[in-house]
Subunit: 393 residues, 2 copies
């Protein structure tokens, strides 16, 4: 049975340290005096904490000053460029790996494909990508914070195990432990939609926001929630797995298929299936096989009739999902991301018009890098013994 956590003096320090660093990061620089004031900490405490943070190379003096009547306040800023990490994303037949810094710059990239349904080769590809990026980070004079991997499946972030990835064959894989055994640095394993939401909060549309939902439209549907600045996972790590909700009464029974009814309407596999059904009698088998969701949206914008019903249903269903998420969780913003949102971006206005409520909807700003960047955030949040203190009062 889970209980509340207790605090020791050293944990108190790490919580305060995190609060100070978050303040600096979010405000894009601040002076020690202001931080002390805003966080209700004494100036000596803030000074001690920032000395710590400077020594750990999380923050630095920017060289700028602020005047406020007396002695100038030197500004402290997040040392984004000097913190680097390796970030991987496991995708459809491809591992994408990058060395990035915390200013969202890509310093090095390395991709590797692997054959479908071969879990071992996929794993080898992971190690191959890390290996080739590792030489770069060890040669760098910047601070290397670790390795993150975003995977399109259910993960346990505490153990770093991958429970299952549909269509890849990984099951109960202790991925974190395996990588840590070979590379002596912190490793974070995270669901890709969760990671993307985290990335969006730090680097994308979540700027200055602590609560958002990211709807990730790829082969399947994933939703990542940020609540009070951290991933909301739910007691079973299943929050936002809403491909299988039921909107139409006809769908109660179809809920246990691989891709649920909502996923069928708005995610890649379902859209392509629907397109192929529509075009079955109009195309050669080879042409039919090559049909993708890009074709669907291109033809729709070219006013091809066959696509209208599918796209209308796409817009309506996505609008419903947005209303549901926004209403249930009371998020500040809904961010749309994933491959589908490339060709579907012009539809966002139609979606907004469908929705009578006042919901902030935006397309991801960091797109394909969201999961990678979010992985880096996850690493930092761990490194900092990042904790969230919330009062009910």
């Amino acid at each position: 049975m889970k209980t509340l956590l207790s605090i020791t003096p050293s944990r108190m320090r790490s919580i305060n340290q995190t609060a100070v660093m978050e303040y600096i990061r979010i405000h894009k620089g601040a002076s020690r005096a202001v931080i002390a004031n805003e966080l209700n900490l004494s100036l000596p405490s803030v000074v001690r904490i920032i000395d710590d943070l400077i020594e750990k190379r999380f923050v630095k003096f920017s060289g700028d000053f602020e005047h406020s009547g007396g002695r100038k306040r030197p500004l402290v800023e997040f040392d984004a460029e000097n913190n680097i990490s390796i970030g991987l994303e496991v995708g459809d037949g491809m591992i994408r790996g990058y060395v990035i810094d915390l200013a969202a710059n890509t310093l090095q990239a390395e991709h590797c494909t692997f054959p479908a349904n071969d879990p071992d080769q996929a794993l080898s590809a992971v190690f191959k990508v890390i290996e080739s990026l590792y030489t770069f980070v060890t040669a760098s004079s910047r601070v290397f914070r670790g390795i993150s991997i975003a995977v399109p499946g259910v993960t346990d972030h505490r153990t770093g195990e991958v429970a299952v990835i549909p269509g890849l064959g990984w099951e109960n894989l202790p991925l974190q432990a395996m990588i840590e055994a070979r590379f002596p640095v912190p490793v974070a394993v995270e669901n890709d939609s969760n990671a993307a939401a985290l990335g969006e909060m730090w680097f994308g549309r979540g700027d200055g926001i602590y609560n958002l939902a990211l709807i990730h439209l790829r082969k399947g549907l994933g939703v990542g929630f940020i609540v009070d600045g951290a991933i909301y996972r739910g007691p079973n790590n299943a929050a936002g797995e809403l491909g299988h909700i039921v909107l139409s009464s006809n769908d109660f029974a179809s809920v246990h298929q691989d891709y649920g009814p909502v996923e069928q309407a708005i995610a890649g596999v379902g859209l392509e299936q629907q397109a192929k059904n529509k075009l079955r009698h109009m195309l050669s088998p080879a042409a039919l096989n090559a049909i993708s969701f890009q074709d669907l949206f291109e033809d729709y914008f070219a006013q091809e009739k066959w696509s209208v019903e599918i796209v209308r249903n796409f817009v309506e269903t996505l609008a419903k999902v947005i209303i549901i998420i926004s209403t249930v969780m009371d998020t500040e913003k809904i961010v749309l991301a994933g491959e589908i949102m490339g060709p579907a971006e012009p539809l966002i206005d139609s979606i907004r018009q469908k929705i009578y409520q006042n919901i902030v909807i935006e397309k991801s700003k960091i797109d394909s890098m969201a999961s990678i960047l979010g992985g880096a955030v996850a690493l930092i949040q761990r490194q900092m013994d990042y904790s969230i203190l919330k009062s009910v009062n």
Copy 2:
């Protein structure tokens, strides 16, 4: 812009104190040695904290002991009977008030009706009820913790203001301040569905659970969420206000009516409206006017045909709402409560059958007292400077 909170030594103490008290409450008694072990605190600290808690009369030695090989451990338990409070619930034309203890016993009751659409008389009724219960609590030798009010509308729990209550006429009413001005004790103002969820967690179906959703079916639809043991409100205090979600594509436009499409299908006002429409040509105007949701469900179980479609839609829509809530939030349990669930209780099995997923659904155990009991919990959580510390690691 909201930032993380900082901690001082005295706040550290109050957090640890809360953790210890929660441990004792949830485990229905525990020894100091075990608590120290489980909460990762040293024994001296736990002893000091429990001395505090005993002095404040939150816990007491039960007189029982536990043997574990050496000196016996005296057990400490939550002092439920010695903590009392006044709890009010603002309902449809009626204020219900009680003196209760933290073992969920009712010690005194006082109800008062007021005419519809008269905000001033409603307010007088509140004060009248409190007044008549106040003599009881001041005469008692138990510890009186304060006054709670659960209202069927949007509240700001920090300021204790009622933003709006549909159909009552209270708007931007500083209810907490008004009551505190007259009675020198802590006052908590809370949305009734949120309070009911809190009550359910401490005293009802939430026993041993930290995450649940309570679906409150009364005139309207309200949902209260408990996440990690505290009310989840969302950044705009609007989480769970989901009368206005859209399931059917026909409903996009009807979303701004007083009662939204989902509310129409499963809450009191909508059910009665539907029943009256069906029976319009079958009953006298007087009889038609008297039709209530009880009649609807009674006639359904008596196999009256007119009710079938309405009830089938009720079951399906409620099933969808349950799936949505459970999937989005990943709750451990869904609790059904509110007047509607009295006559509708036999339908719970049909709802379960509709839902193919494995979701735990139960009817409230504390029924009409849920909001009252939850109000008492809210008072205690405040008194304790109840804080939640969550680590992302």
